[in-house]
């Protein structure tokens, strides 16, 4: 029957061998779905434990050796890592004292405060000053408002603990990333070495390396900060490499012709010329550090993250929401501020010769306010810390709102949920789980070959065999299913929104603000309302992932459509296209490579969010990582984490190859 159908289709239009292959593959897949389970031995679905490669054990053993025995002659590895954390503790405790606890004399309960922390008035004055310096009064007011919110809604103390850790983590992340980037810029060999490591670090879920960090650096704010730095550094490194390479070659030539030494060329010519790009990296580091706030509290960070986590554990939705909103407010404030600084890096000249007060108006007035509030704060407590009697609470009213929705819309929400689960999510899950792994890998590898040739084929084969050999296949398929379903829904919603926003300027502006805000929110925050509305399970996970991952699908679609050369659109209009034809026959095909890149980003974000949704009860690799974290099982966590990273890398490489092909075909460089 298959053969006759094949012939019929062959009659209609000549098929090349690739299309033919996929047609046959489709039939085989349907057949396997219907009949497959009985035809193959069990090990084709799940590799039995005794033939798995015990990578978990190797890693755990290595970790034990590292912690217990490794030494460099004069000191052990553990002493080294504890030394590093001791060193990092110095700036961190300074910042914590400055923002939160005040400077103490003595230990424990006998400690005496010799200097109070910065008063809330001083901190707000400082951020307002920075806002005005970076852009204008509007931004200053906005940022001041955000911080005032934190004070008024009782989040001040936790927010300052969080701010202290970010103030220290960000410079380390930025400088570390910049130094790595300089190394990569100078030595192509070094770049080749770190590039796959960066790939891995950006795709492996944070949970997976929390455990080793715990072993090496202990539990506490310092370990949490190290995890944050490790998490935030790879994107900074990448952006810094790109910015350094983006410095026009003429400027590099000029530096050489002026007789710069290597060091002068780097620090006086390249780095300052790349500053606007580097500031984008700084913004990224700040946002990623905030994103880590809740996760880092699992290994000992205090502050807002800890509040959210402990509220979630107590099922105190109101409290969790309050602290969550606190993080969001802090994130938005710091995001806008650092973006304004990034935009400001194109300087404007100052007139004439000003005296020192006029030259540095802000520095001097903020210093005055800090001193004044310090002295006055000793006499008037309300100046030192925001008076508790004036604090407001929104937690209860928010919780009530959710309860009200749940009571009144329960049936409607439940119907949607059941419909999507039964007709979409469950069938996809079953198809993936019913395929023997060899067949799935075969299809993957053929696709890889067609898109990217031999190299991509080999990469795909090796990475997917790792997942099989370590016994992660079944869980990996659940991850693929959840990720795939979420990405499809995110694209189905996101791409049309992107198209509409690109066609209509007013809508475009609204959408832009929306996705900017969505991307500022730490991933954890999405879980809270979703769980409240849909309770735990795959559907909640899917909704949270869609919300978190939809932004790039929209952003890249807008970007792709808006950046089509206008001559091509004019050509379409003059040849008499209707609006619909213009969209389908001109704009979308030309925007396709860009949309594919958006799809790629969406997948990456979806995978990173999936690990966090393990908290709402999925059964995938994310759950495996999370269990490993709670059991402090290094090997188990890393292997599952690597599997997620490998899925991400395969998807990334295949889509990138596809986008490249599409671009070539369209003659866009």
């Amino acid at each position: 029957m298959i053969a006759s159908m094949k012939n019929r289709i062959l009659d209609i239009q000549p098929l090349n061998s690739a299309k033919l292959f996929w047609l046959i593959a489709l039939f085989v897949t349907v057949f396997l779905y219907l009949e497959g389970k009985g035809l193959f031995p069990k090990w084709m679905f799940k590799v039995p434990r005794k033939s798995q490669i015990p990578v978990k054990k190797y890693i755990s053993n290595f970790m034990d050796w590292l912690v217990e025995e490794a030494n460099f002659g004069f000191f052990t590895f553990k002493e080294l890592t504890r030394g590093i954390s001791g060193l990092l503790d110095i700036p961190l405790s300074f910042a914590t004292s400055l923002f939160s606890t005040g400077f103490m004399e003595g230990q424990g309960s006998q400690a005496l405060q010799i200097l109070p922390p910065l008063s809330w008035i001083a901190v707000i004055a400082a951020v307002v000053a920075m806002g005005h310096y970076a852009r204008d009064w509007k931004l200053a007011g906005f940022i001041g408002g955000c911080f005032l919110y934190l004070a008024m809604f009782g989040q001040w103390d936790s927010a300052m603990v969080t701010l202290a850790s970010i103030v220290i983590a960000v410079p380390f992340g930025v400088v570390g990333g910049l130094l790595l980037a300089i190394g990569a810029y100078r030595s192509p060999w070094f770049e080749k070495t770190i590039s796959p490591v960066l790939d891995l670090m950006q795709t492996i879920p944070v949970f997976a390396y929390l455990v080793p960090i715990l072993f090496l650096f202990g539990f506490g704010p310092v370990a949490a900060m190290i995890a944050t730095i490790i998490y935030a550094m790879p994107p900074m490194t990448r952006i810094a490499i790109m910015s350094l390479k983006g410095v026009p070659s003429e400027i590099v030539d000029f530096g050489n012709m002026a007789g710069c030494t290597k060091r002068q060329l780097m620090w006086k010519v390249l780095v300052p010329s790349a500053a606007p790009g580097l500031m984008v990296g700084v913004n990224q580091v700040i946002m990623l550090s905030l994103n880590m706030v809740i996760i880092a509290s699992m290994i000992g960070a205090g502050g807002l993250g800890y509040d959210v986590l402990s509220s979630l554990r107590r099922l105190d939705i109101g409290g969790g929401l309050e602290a969550g909103v606190g993080i969001v407010v802090l994130a938005i404030a710091l995001d806008r501020l650092s973006q304004a600084f990034a935009a400001r890096s194109e300087p404007i000249h100052l007139d004439g010769h000003l005296n020192i007060v006029k030259r540095h108006p802000w520095f001097i007035s903020v210093s005055l306010i800090v001193l004044l509030s310090l002295v006055l704060g000793l006499f008037v407590p309300a100046i030192q810390s925001y008076p508790q009697s004036l604090e407001l609470g929104v937690g209860t009213s928010l919780a009530e709102l959710v309860a009200w929705i749940n009571i009144n819309f329960f049936d409607a929400l439940e119907t949607y949920k059941t419909f999507v689960l039964v007709y979409f999510m469950v069938p996809v899950k079953l198809v993936l789980l019913k395929m023997p792994w060899a067949w799935t890998i075969l299809l993957l590898c053929v696709g890889a070959w067609q898109l990217g040739g031999k190299k991509l084929f080999l990469l795909t084969l090796l990475l997917s065999l790792f997942i099989v050999a370590t016994g992660m296949w079944e869980k990996a398929m659940i991850t693929v299913y959840l990720c795939g379903v979420s990405v499809v829904i995110a694209c189905l919603i996101g791409i049309p929104i992107g198209i509409a926003a690109a066609e209509n300027h007013r809508l475009g502006r609204v959408v832009q603000v929306m996705i900017d805000t969505l991307q500022t929110l730490p991933s954890f925050v999405y879980l809270i309302p979703v769980v409240m509305l849909f309770r735990v399970g795959d559907f909640s996970a899917m909704v949270a992932v869609v919300l978190y991952a939809i932004a790039p699908a929209i952003r890249y679609t807008i970007h792709g459509i808006q950046h089509i050369p206008s001559a091509l659109i004019e050509a379409g209009i003059t040849s008499g296209c209707t609006r619909r034809q213009l969209l389908w026959k001109v704009k979308l095909p030309l925007a396709l490579p860009e949309i594919l890149l958006g799809l790629n980003q969406t997948i990456m974000l979806a995978l990173s969010m999936l690990v966090i949704t393990a908290l709402v009860g999925t059964r995938d690799l994310g759950q495996e990582v999370y269990i490993a974290l709670t059991k402090a099982d290094t090997g188990r966590g890393l292997v599952a984490g690597l599997s997620i990273a490998f899925i991400a890398i395969i998807a990334d490489r295949m889509i990138a190859a596809g986008s490249r092909k599409a671009k070539q075909r369209l003659g866009l460089n």
């Binding site: 400027i251 030539d253 000249h349 007139d351």
Partner: protein, 343 residues
């Protein structure tokens, strides 16, 4: 003009692609175009031999991809040539160590770039002072020097502006000022006016001629614009596919193009703008009455009106004022209407 050779390149090759050095050795240092093509290599500069004299404006002219930018970067060793010698005051630059090269560039070379290459984070003053800053010259001294040069290029009052606050022409004035800050012995200009509007370009060319009259530098000037080359050059080298196909004065090129390719550039150039009185003169004869005198290096276009209206020939005199020949009305008319002229 002092005609000692300042910068000279001998058999310079720059081949882009893997294993270029072995490739050259294998082909006895004289590979043909088809050899390059067969090996999938690109010849950026191919067997270039030029001498640049002290105090002259030497223009390297070629279309995009002709290798002129590669060549000027070989001359300053921004690109390492694959083969050959670059002699600067008789010393081979290619044998200089990194430290020596830094010293040479700090004190003897200046370069102006097509897209200005100003540092975006520094003011005009600090941009111009930058080459001195990295030499460790004191702030007071380098800013004094910078202010003088800024005045020379006509940007006084803009010292505290940042590059992006200036127009293209002004930015290039900063670029020129900066390259002059170290009082270089040799001045490279890589298409300095190509990124400017035509009107500004003309103005900057005049400015450049004015500056050179004051400074008398040895100049290597790169351009893709033949009119610009004719206007500015003492001598021109025409490049194509990495090779220098002809070197000569503007007159030489217009009157005796070596190949059809050169002729294509020169044919639309009005000869009256290139040919000089000295070139067209007949032998001097003191017995013939003259209507006046013209300097021998004046181009015909500038004196055509006077000569046309006079019924007697003009005396052609040298820069010192001694008569060296006679210029008849007929000869000038021949040039103006485009008849063959015998030289």
């Amino acid at each position: 003009m002092n005609s000692s050779v300042k910068l000279s390149c001998r058999g310079v090759w720059k081949i882009f692609g893997p294993d270029a050095k072995n490739f050259l050795a294998k082909h006895n240092h004289k590979p043909k175009s088809r050899d390059l093509k067969a090996a999938n290599l690109v010849g950026g500069a191919r067997d270039v031999n030029i001498d640049i004299h002290s105090g002259e404006i030497f223009v390297i002219m070629g279309l995009s991809g002709s290798g002129k930018s590669t060549l000027v970067r070989c001359l300053s060793r921004l690109i390492e040539p694959t083969d050959g010698e670059i002699l600067f005051d008789g010393e081979d630059l290619l044998k200089a160590s990194d430290e020596e090269m830094i010293e040479i560039r700090r004190h003897k070379m200046g370069m102006v770039f097509q897209h200005f290459a100003l540092l975006p984070h520094l003011t005009v003053l600090r941009n111009v002072a930058f080459p001195l800053e990295i030499q460790g010259v004191s702030r007071e001294k380098r800013e004094k020097v910078a202010r003088e040069i800024i005045e020379l290029v006509g940007l006084s009052g803009r010292e505290n502006y940042y590059p992006r606050e200036l127009s293209g022409g002004q930015q290039q004035r900063v670029g020129i000022a900066r390259s002059l800050a170290v009082e270089p012995e040799i001045w490279f200009l890589d298409e300095p006016f190509s990124a400017l509007d035509p009107l500004i370009r003309r103005e900057m060319q005049d400015e450049f001629i004015r500056l050179q009259n004051v400074l008398k530098k040895t100049i290597v000037f790169i351009t893709h614009d033949f009119d610009e080359a004719i206007r500015l050059a003492d001598r021109i080298a025409i490049m194509k596919d990495g090779k220098v196909i002809q070197i000569g004065t503007p007159e030489d090129l217009v009157m005796n193009p070596a190949t059809d390719y050169v002729a294509e550039f020169t044919q639309h150039i009005p000869r009256a703008k290139v040919l000089t009185a000295g070139l067209l003169k007949d032998d001097f004869d003191a017995s013939i009455a003259t209507a006046g005198s013209v300097f021998q290096d004046t181009v015909i276009a500038d004196i055509a009106d006077d000569i046309e209206q006079a019924d007697k020939p003009f005396a052609v005199i040298s820069a010192e004022g001694t008569p060296v020949g006679l210029l008849s009305r007929k000869r000038v008319m021949d040039v103006l209407v485009g008849r063959e002229v015998s030289l």
